[in-house]
Each structure stands twice: as structure tokens, then as C-alpha cells.
Symmetry: C2
Subunit: 317 residues, 2 copies
């Protein structure tokens, strides 16, 4: 498929680099200030090299990537709150042009789920968003196949950075600020980790999952999530949990329309007690019982791979 990639951060760049090996052609890439388009295929490596040197992605207007020739728009700009702009507008443009959309950005399905679904109903294009939930195992299409009404609850560790920090604090007895600085040195944490450590990113995932499970007359946003992050956890609380055979993880939970993000104690041998930048999703499914899916890490390569697998899925349909 021909791909237009909106957003040229670490994930967008990695999608561009890997697209060819998944059988797809990048016909446009944009960041917030500029774009490059080529209907016969952008020279990805030259463009990214150029961006590293000059700071810009090309010499066209940013909007030209939305108007370019493509079969599927890949939306990987940073997640935002409120009305999910500018991502929502990008999706709307693609769907009105009857193009497919694959999302890395969590905001549209977390904040304006019904609006996106309505645009999709009136389009020949389809919206996939596995990368907003977890790893490459298709949680969303599993929910679709078993039927959303059979999913009793979903919980999980959805944010790799928060989990890296908590598991390092526990294992090494280090303080929050120390481990955060370490994660920034390792490139695991962005310069501004607020969304990760305050639980907002996990809340966006919970909102998406609640929307997928909900009846069509219900809609959730992060405003419906009770959120507590990990910035205020004292080391003593982690030690106390450990003495009790437990450990603390930042869990997101969706059950009966109740959405919650908070540090919770879980048994040390629980499937939820993943370590480092790992993530885990636990589905409780009627008849099928409890299923846990653990992914090794949510680095840009893994997220890009999940996005390109969604593109493969659209091509196959």
C-alpha cells in the first residue's frame, strides 16, 4: 500500500524505515512544519538523514501530506487531550477521501470515538489502532472476534516507561527522580515524561478499551477515568509491598464502565508483575477465562511493527 505518514518523531521515522520490508511504499511524510511527497515513493533514508541535519522533513507545506497520493494514512503525531486535534482533522481528511487510517496516536479513539466511527461509516476507508493498546498480538481484533459483550474486564500495565521506573525503584531501592533521569539517559523516557508518569497515557488506553467494549450509545474520554500516577509513590511503600511478596505496578482497569488508573499491589509471581519496559494486557473473557498477553517492550521499532501489521491487515481485507 502507499502510505502517508503524519508525524516524523521516533515512531513515524521507524514506520518509514520499515515500510519497504513490509511491502509498502511511503509516498508522503510530514512533521508539524513541513512535508515531502512523491507519488512514486519517497527516498526515506535521504529524507530522514536530511531531517537529522536540517531539522525539517522537506520543503513542502505540512498539509501536502494529507492531500498526497496514498492508500493509508498513518497518524503518529503526539497524543493530545481535549478535542484530539490536530490528529482528528487528519483522520477526517483521509476518511472523506475514502482512504484507510492506522493510528499510533491514542487521542482520536480515546477522546472522540463516536465522531471517528461516524466518519468511518460514511467512508470506504477503515480505521485500525492496535498500536494504541499494546504489542503485536491483536487485542482489539480478539475483542471483535469473541464479541465485546463477552469481555468481562480488561486490565494491564500499558505504559512501558512507568513500568520501567517502578520496577527499577523496587529492584534497586532507588528514588523516583534518580530512576527517571536514568530512563532519560537510556532514551526510554522522552524529555517530558508527564503523560507517562502521571497516568494520562494509561488513561487514554483505558478510554479506548472502554469505548471498544461500550454499547453504541455510550462514549468515554479520559475525563471518565479516575487517575493516579506514580510520581508520589514513596520508596517505603515499595519496600512494604515486597516484604509481603507483592510488588507495585501502574495498572489501568476497565470493568462495567468503570475506568481506573492507579499504582496497585500485585503478587510478585502474577502475570501482571512484568518488569522493565514490558507491557501486559489481561483479558477476562466469558467461557474463555483469563488470558494474559505480555510484550517485551514498546520501543519505536515494536510500535512501528504493530502499525505496519495493521496496514497488512487492511491490505488483506
Amino acid at each position: 500500500m502507499k502510505l502517508s505518514i503524519i508525524g516524523a518523531g521516533t515512531v513515524g521515522s521507524r514506520v518509514a524505515e520499515l515500510a519497504d520490508s513490509y511491502g509498502h511504499t511511503v509516498t508522503a511524510i510530514s512533521d508539524s512544519t513541513s512535508a515531502v511527497t512523491d507519488a512514486s515513493g519517497v527516498d526515506v533514508h535521504a529524507v530522514l538523514e536530511d531531517k537529522r541535519e536540517s531539522g525539517t522533513i522537506g520543503n513542502e507545506e505540512s498539509e501536502s501530506a494529507l492531500e498526497a497520493e496514498y492508500d493509508c494514512l498513518v497518524e503518529v503525531t503526539p497524543s493530545t487531550l481535549g478535542d484530539a486535534e490536530p490528529a482528528f482533522n487528519h483522520i477526517a481528511t483521509a476518511l472523506r477521501r475514502d482512504r484507510h487510517v492506522v493510528l499510533g496516536n491514542k487521542s482520536p479513539m480515546a477522546q472522540r470515538y463516536r465522531d471517528v466511527r461516524e466518519l468511518e461509516e460514511n467512508s470506504a476507508g477503515e480505521v485500525l489502532f492496535e498500536a494504541t493498546i499494546g504489542g503485536p498480538i491483536p487485542v482489539l481484533s480478539t475483542i471483535h472476534d469473541v464479541g465485546p459483550d463477552r469481555v468481562i474486564s480488561i486490565k494491564g500495565v500499558f505504559n512501558g516507561l512507568a513500568n520501567f521506573i517502578l520496577s527499577r525503584m523496587t529492584a534497586e531501592g532507588l528514588g523516583y527522580e534518580h530512576v527517571l533521569a536514568e530512563a532519560q539517559d537510556l532514551g526510554i523516557a522522552e524529555v517530558d515524561p508527564t503523560f507517562d508518569v502521571e497516568g494520562t497515557d494509561t488513561a487514554l488506553t483505558c478510554s479506548i478499551l472502554a469505548n471498544v467494549l461500550a454499547e453504541s450509545d455510550t462514549e468515554f474520554t479520559v475525563d471518565d477515568v479516575s487517575i493516579e500516577g506514580i510520581t508520589e509513590i514513596p520508596g517505603s511503600a515499595l519496600n512494604l509491598a515486597r516484604e509481603d511478596g507483592k510488588t507495585v505496578r501502574l495498572l489501568g482497569e476497565v470493568r462495567d464502565g468503570q475506568l481506573r488508573v492507579a499504582p496497585r499491589t500485585v503478587p510478585q509471581n502474577s502475570p501482571l508483575a512484568v518488569t522493565g519496559p514490558q507491557t501486559v494486557v489481561e483479558l477476562d473473557i466469558q467461557d474463555a477465562g483469563q488470558v494474559n498477553v505480555t510484550s517485551s517492550a514498546a520501543t519505536s521499532t515494536e510500535v512501528a511493527s504493530t502499525i505496519l501489521t495493521d496496514v497488512n491487515r487492511l491490505e488483506r481485507q
Copy 2:
């Protein structure tokens, strides 16, 4: 969809009982000696009650279930080795009639993969077989979506009974015979557990996975699997592993066309160290990294649910 269920053991009976709640109608059920058919829908509870009392499923010939009116054949007779009969013949009949097939029986895809695929290519029907691998998370459709050539290796604990026995022996320091008797009392083990404890059942799963990953000119059967079961493991080996922070699990492994089933030591905190009747599948996927899927148990209800989810998937297509 209208379902004809071939095999009325614990899994077949459970598929029949749950079919209605998944939106499907049972139009035929058979066991090895008899059948009942009704194009407008079999009275499942009466038929199963009858079977419990009389030992037979109805007063028609067993074959009439193959000739009945149905959209999808559910093949849940016991797995066999060699030429995978009689299951293969059941599948062939359904595909020649352009009907879909969902498999619980592992033999056809383990022993005659290319023959089944050839029948499928000449049929309007399709064959799905998630229940032959693991739990309700679609491992097979994930492999399909990411592309079989991106799957570097697959390993896992595929047999719940073998895992129940090993983890009980380790935790309680009990001998093999003792724990097996316990499993039979609990209804976890069949009267004849040979396939489970000698590794044959795990080898069938490995053969299926290797076939799914293979190029179209290669075919595997259990004869290609190096198999070692758990019947000869001394308690001392389990104790030794434990002192070393490890534990023993019956692993099936598929990598580069090499298939192996054997008791292996794994770290106690490894995702592969599932306990009790749990199962786990570990996929190593290029770009996407390592993904583990753990299912709570492979009881008849969970297997039936996985089968009915495959039926849902066929209906959706």
C-alpha cells in the same frame, strides 16, 4: 451459522451447549456410533441428556451428520496419528460440499497439512484451527497478519495436563504416579493420558505450527519432531532445578524447521513457567520482539469457546 458437530466427547458436548449463546444453531451431532440431525435445530440439552442415560447420541447413522444441512463442520473427534483418519475424511466431505470447517482435532493440520490446504483451495469453504494451538487469543491469525516469514521462533507449554503434573510435582514434592492419579480424580486427565504425558499432543501442536510457518513446498508431521515426555523425570531433577532458581516445563519448540518436545529448565520467573493447567505460547517476531500469551486453562469450556470464536470469524468474513 448452522453447525454439524462431529464428536460428542467433553469438547463436542460443550460446543453444542454454548453454540446458541454465540448465535449459532446445531443442526447435527454425531459420535462414532450414531447421530442426530435436525435442519431446524437439534434440541441440544435433550440429546446430551439422552446420551448420558443411554450412551448413544441418537438413532441415525453416524455418517448422517456429514450429509446433514450445515454451514460449518466442527471436527472434535480425538486426535490420531498416521493418516489423521477418520477426521481427514470428515473435513474432505465438508470442503467438497463447499462448507467451512473448524478443528479441535489436531491431527489433520499436524499430519496432512498440504492435503487439507489443497482441498481448501478447491472449495468455497475455509478451515480454521485456533483451538489446536492454545487459548482464545488468535496465535494463528497473528502469524498470518505479521507474515509467517517474520516469525523467528515459537515455543510454549501447550499441554495443560503435563504442566499440571510437573508443577504439582515441583510444588509438593510428589511423585509422577501420585500426581497423575490426582489429576484423574480432578477430571483434568483422561483415563488414558498417554498422548499428554509422553509429549505426543505437544508434538502435534509443534507440527501444526511448523506447517503454518513453512514454505509451501515443505511439510511436517509428528515424525519430524524429536519427542521426550515427562513420565521418566525423577523428583530429584525437579529439586535440583529449584535449588538453582529454575523449574522444569514440558516445552514444544519450533525454530528453523527444527521441532522439539522435551522437559526443559526455565527460570522460575520466566513467562514460560506457568503453573497448574495453564498454557503459554511465546512468539519471537522480527521487529516486534518477544510476545507471550498465557491462557488460564484449556478446559472443555475454554476450548469450546475458542472453536465458537473461529465460527464467529468465518461468519464475519
